[in-house]
Symmetry: C2
Subunit: 506 residues, 2 copies
Amino acid sequence: MAKQVKPAITPVRADDYPEWYQQIIKASDLAEKSPVRGCMVIKPWGYALWENIVRGMDDMFKATGVKNAYFPLFIPLSFLEKEAEHVEGFAKECAVVTHHRLEKSDQGGLVPAGKLAEPLVVRPTSETIIGDSFAKWVSSYRDLPILINQWANVVRWEMRTRIFLRTSEFLWQEGHTAHATADEAVARTQMMLDVYARFVEEFLAIPVIRGRKTPSERFPGAVDTLCIEAMMQDRKALQAGTSHFLGQNFAKASGIRFQNAQEQEEFAWTTSWGSSTRLIGGLIMTHADDNGLVLPPRIASAHVVLLPIYRSDGDRDQVMAYTEKLASDLRGQIYHHRPVQVEIDTRDIGGARGWDWIKKGIPVRVEIGPKDIEKDALFVGRRDDDPKKKTSIPRARFLQDFTAMLDDIQQQLYDRALDFRERNTQPIDTRDAFDTYFTPRSQEKPEIHGGFALSHWCGDAQCERQIKDALNVTIRCIPLKNQQEDGPCVCCGRPSKERVVWAKAY
Amino acid sequence: MAKQVKPAITPVRADDYPEWYQQIIKASDLAEKSPVRGCMVIKPWGYALWENIVRGMDDMFKATGVKNAYFPLFIPLSFLEKEAEHVEGFAKECAVVTHHRLEKSDQGGLVPAGKLAEPLVVRPTSETIIGDSFAKWVSSYRDLPILINQWANVVRWEMRTRIFLRTSEFLWQEGHTAHATADEAVARTQMMLDVYARFVEEFLAIPVIRGRKTPSERFPGAVDTLCIEAMMQDRKALQAGTSHFLGQNFAKASGIRFQNAQEQEEFAWTTSWGSSTRLIGGLIMTHADDNGLVLPPRIASAHVVLLPIYRSDGDRDQVMAYTEKLASDLRGQIYHHRPVQVEIDTRDIGGARGWDWIKKGIPVRVEIGPKDIEKDALFVGRRDDDPKKKTSIPRARFLQDFTAMLDDIQQQLYDRALDFRERNTQPIDTRDAFDTYFTPRSQEKPEIHGGFALSHWCGDAQCERQIKDALNVTIRCIPLKNQQEDGPCVCCGRPSKERVVWAKAY
């Protein structure tokens, strides 16, 4: 290992994980708090990540036949009330529009005026308003399936917010489909979970477990909720995407009826599935280190930064010409379906310049000085290496191997994350061992404990509740690819047929 | 001209333009009204147009150094009040969030609860909330310029709405920049107007006039508003994009200060510029005809539909194989920066199938039957031709010439629109002639009158007001490339130095 350097982020991960997370976001210039309670400002370096997520995921959706559309931001209160569990799940966190005008008050300030006959809820999710359209679009089995996705902002009025992970407004996609049979809808639910899993593993380099939520963790109104769960560096779980089989619940609530081939009227079977800017939080907490953000190349806001170095004006011209030519050669290359994105940083700020890009997590840094140019070589640093490790590489070879280098970084990051998860996942068979596993090991570093426990569960919600109350640990999912095995419930000892994934969670 | 066919849209353009417009949207399946007052549902065929607008425009923005970011949906009331003209301009049409929760009422229904200390306005535009961020981001002239764009939804509570043209919620982009000097901000205002003009002419095939708004038509709070104006088929004007020089008004309101190179503190100079889903309304009203929508290939939701024709199962296999191969060959081609988009329609609905695609405005239709396959030829119809005109073209030549055919359609549509505008634009020098020009020529067809009048204006807002009150005609813009010419104001006769563009407008 190269010589230790002082970490760029204070505190380091091991000392105060939540504060480290905030510092990473600040140091990498991804986003910031806004003056509006719980809402964030996503800055260009952060928004570029979202653009890349949108592009990558959108292509995958479309390849399965899904088309994009757009539905109203506002949902009439009466629509939300159509599905009882659904409204119950969202009523406590709804932003409500009650007026459509501002008027001068007697005191001179502006006050809301023009009261609406029916309050409008800013969409927390769109099942009910999209269901209303589906009901109009469907009359025969020939109109099915309908496969729709929407990229949109949604609002859930959260009391405790954290940038990207839990904000009052966030950006997301929500897919909504309607089918003639339950089997087809169940297959679509599974298919979209697979899309999420593939996207998160292949683009974000985050390994995930595909599973099913227990009834108490289901989406309000769903018959079945599938999910992908990832492990963050503090060993907590992050739900990175969910796909819901809604049965006929929402079709009945919205009146999505069709005539089948036998000319009988039936309710359709629907699904919905969503993922959000929360993925960026997951990206940070999977890969970032004590020197800042670490971006997997396939999703990175930019792939490489060129750092020209010169003292004299004569040097400057030569170095800049060489740099521009290199940038142009790199931009002509395609890496994983998009042209290579190159930044050139000519700021005169000394060593802070390189550190800035380390903190921003760019995969590759290239220093270009007069001596390098003499040798027609570049001085190259990789973000997955120690920051002090830089290697001189002949320009031609660098260009030839550049996309392979990006692939190698991508793979490294995935492998490290998978290794971390495996080292912090273990089968636990007794309640005592379970309690110990999830109890902080040190007063000073309360974050260091636990991980994923693979333990038996009898299927009773009471056991879930008891463990949640005692340890703040929940069942993240029942893995889809699970081995059948007899064992005792880790809570009550009653018989169970399979182990489930228990963890603390975001 | 080929044999007349009965038009697919009733009423035709000439009889009832507003109703024709609604019928076009319905027949082409672009969008529909929603149960939420004034909000629209953009259906997949319409949303694909928006996706193409976003992609095309976004590339052009980025080429000028602009980066995307995202700011909160909600604006605290106190922010909106910071700029007096600004809040005045938007207060009458604001959706106001006053509560953040729903609770069961005594009657059992849900009612708003959790009253907010300060009401939040759903953004009608984001100058004030983005200004707040800029104030944090800028401290030195070295931090300038800041060049930001946001793709977002906005809400303006309109009383009379029309799909795409005026809706309470719409999708748009809003660019916001901050500069160290007035000159640089003015140049950026002009640059973004040029981007809009190029985009609208090159992608949407809509010719535009670049101009400046009179003071009474400026954006609330702007020092100068530039615009592009297009002529619709009912001879009314549509404002298709605006670019505002905001001076230091918003910098003062938001406190965007910087130290200049002489270490003196100054307020920054800002701009903003926007375009919206309204462009889709302009697209419809420029190109659609009595048979439905007509889509310019560079923006079309898809470029070509393949219509396989067969009677027997044996025919079916052969025709489908031939069709799939053709689709694959077409999809391998690039037209104007994107892969050719191909639809295959196998519905068994007879002649209605071809008409469906004519109504949807797809640029090229290709019929493929056993007899065509024998000759290795295709039966091709172009949307810019009469619907009955179809031509047999050898497959190889069709493939070779396909993108050139698309370019030809694109050019045809632009040329027709330009010709229409020129035929309906005239210099008018007297108030009598002006009144006649803008007075309906027939009781039965009240839409048939006027166009653009190029008439002198003295510069007095009173004259504008008088003509608006009398004829509902306004100054659309003072063209940027204008000839200096002495003449009498068409309203009051006082001297004027140039002609301006007068018209009725959307």
